[in-house]
């Protein structure tokens, strides 16, 4: 298998990417890893020896995290992020991972890799933590804010397949994000999506409320990109505000500091559990090739895990299976 990585994307690039690829190259010796970025920057990061199954694909430019996605992708055709997507399209590599600009990755994926036939809009599908520990795959969280009902149905199908094949959930429970659990609740969009999803050959558990997701009421959560983004960012904001406030409380007095020291190991474990950044990268489901968005803050370990995820994505044939299921549904 051949996996490409954007050496220049992410807060800790290129070092974290190079360190991650080094571990991956050691773990999967029969695979080949293509590191995309400026040779003169990357080569020195392997001072203690270049792994034999890593290859640098030289590119001179890259896209920054704050660049306007569509413009950046159009202007910087030679950037590491765009070249990665082209490599997937041309079959030069089996999968591509980037921790860079999310919008640009989606735009480049659409423009240079293309969609699976029958999928109208790809979705960004990160893992959402749950207190039970299994987590929930949420799609879409912002790739397509103005979703139509049939887009949501396509998300349901793709999410179910990905969850089973890559995350190992047997017969995954697929829920629809809504403002009440009863059938007939919500907007016209959601009601129509409910009807379409019901017809699919998946394990649909109906409407799900956002307050229950952390308790693991479903394995896959389907939502339009706008609501999904609100869900994700609200969780992030609330968790961060609470954690910040706890830290304040824990250092307010000398006694508090002492007490906090006792509780620290347990709290650290918990903070890790609810940090969705620990839960792997987000696939761009619906593109014709396996492309994974790793978190912007990815360290070497996160990069290594993203490689593991990309390998399963390819190995388990997620995209052929989506294509096949779409054909079967179309034929009735």
């Amino acid at each position: 298998m051949r996996i490409a990585l954007d050496a220049m994307g992410g807060d800790h690039a290129p070092k974290a990417i190079c360190d991650g690829i080094r571990s991956a190259a050691q773990e999967w010796r029969d695979d080949e890893f293509v590191l995309i970025g400026p040779e003169e920057v990357l080569r020195p990061l392997f001072a203690d020896g270049f792994p034999s199954n890593v290859r640098i694909l030289h590119t001179a430019e890259w896209i920054g995290p704050d660049e306007e996605p569509v413009k950046a992708v159009r202007r910087k055709k030679g950037s590491s992020l765009v070249v990665g997507c082209q490599q997937v399209k041309e079959g030069e590599v089996d999968a591509f991972i980037s921790a860079g600009n999310t919008g640009a990755l989606m735009a480049a994926g659409l423009l240079y890799t293309g969609r699976i036939q029958g999928i109208d809009r790809p979705a960004l599908a990160p893992m959402f933590p749950s207190v039970s520990g299994r987590g929930t795959l949420v799609l879409d969280v912002g790739a397509n804010p103005d979703a139509k009902a049939h887009h949501l149905a396509q998300y349901a199908l793709m999410g179910s397949i990905y969850s089973e094949k890559v995350l190992g959930f047997e017969n995954p429970r697929v829920g629809l994000l809504n403002i009440g659990t009863e059938e007939g609740k919500g907007t016209e969009l959601i009601k129509e999506a409910y009807r379409l999803i019901q017809e699919l050959p998946i394990h649909f558990v109906g409407n799900v409320e956002s307050r229950d997701i952390l308790h693991g009421v479903c394995d896959v959560l389907v939502c339009d990109g706008f609501s999904g983004n609100i869900l994700l960012k609200t969780s992030e904001g609330v968790a961060k505000a609470i954690m910040d406030r706890l830290k304040q409380e824990f250092t307010r007095t000398w006694w508090n500091k002492l007490a906090a020291a006792v509780l620290k190991p347990g709290l650290k474990r918990f903070a890790r559990e609810i940090n969705y950044k620990e839960h792997g990268g987000a696939p761009l489901l619906g593109l014709s090739g396996p492309i994974i968005k790793a978190h912007g803050s990815s360290d070497a370990k996160a990069v290594f895990h993203a490689v593991r995820q990309a390998r399963l994505f390819v190995e388990r044939g997620v995209i052929p299976r989506i294509t096949e299921d779409l054909h079967r549904i179309e034929r009735g």
Copy 2:
């Protein structure tokens, strides 16, 4: 002033409502309070003397928290909740407060009290806590899931007036819930709403992301009922999951219990701060009379605060001011 309360709505009704009204009657001796519910149930709750400025308006039936709103309102025309809305319509009372079924209160408000002329859809507008302590008025959180752009513009106007008059925020900062802060982000609905809100004579601060709301980036947050509901329930769910998990951690070992005891007062204070239930009731903005939804879990203190809120709602002339502004805008 004359204020009516639904004696039979809420988890702690009728006792909490009666206790709350007793304090309110003492605080505002020149006002008259109308307690709506079954005389035989309510009278005994005032065993130690009935306040001279409280009057019972007898009704034999009431609407339960789990009843289907529209059906219940149509069938139970003599219920405390419906009678309260009629009393406002007929000018028998100046305001009405209920801690009962939210959907039923909105339905009865629409059916029996009616809308302000020029407002298409009323909004439910609770306070959302912020770590800075001021809080944010959020509207709508579910009264109208399928909002149109001009509904959102009406929310912006009403929210700004209410925030200034009742909450005392000078020149309140009005934000639009979106998935990015740049202009041009989001769905077609939100983009169109942005254009309309920009034209209003209010202090519009543009798009706001959900993760920043807890940090008090705006005083009024405008959103469609679907997204607002997701925002509210996600916050509730995440905060509860974290607090539950902390409690677990705090009792896991004997040492942890001891350490937790030291931290307890500070944590309790914090839990109260972020509990939006402490932040007053939610007005149903857009109805032609002041109607306030108190929290289902309201205790006597919360009922007392809802009365204070209702008094300001009336005294500061929120509804006349909304009507006036709407006319002025219409005339250009």
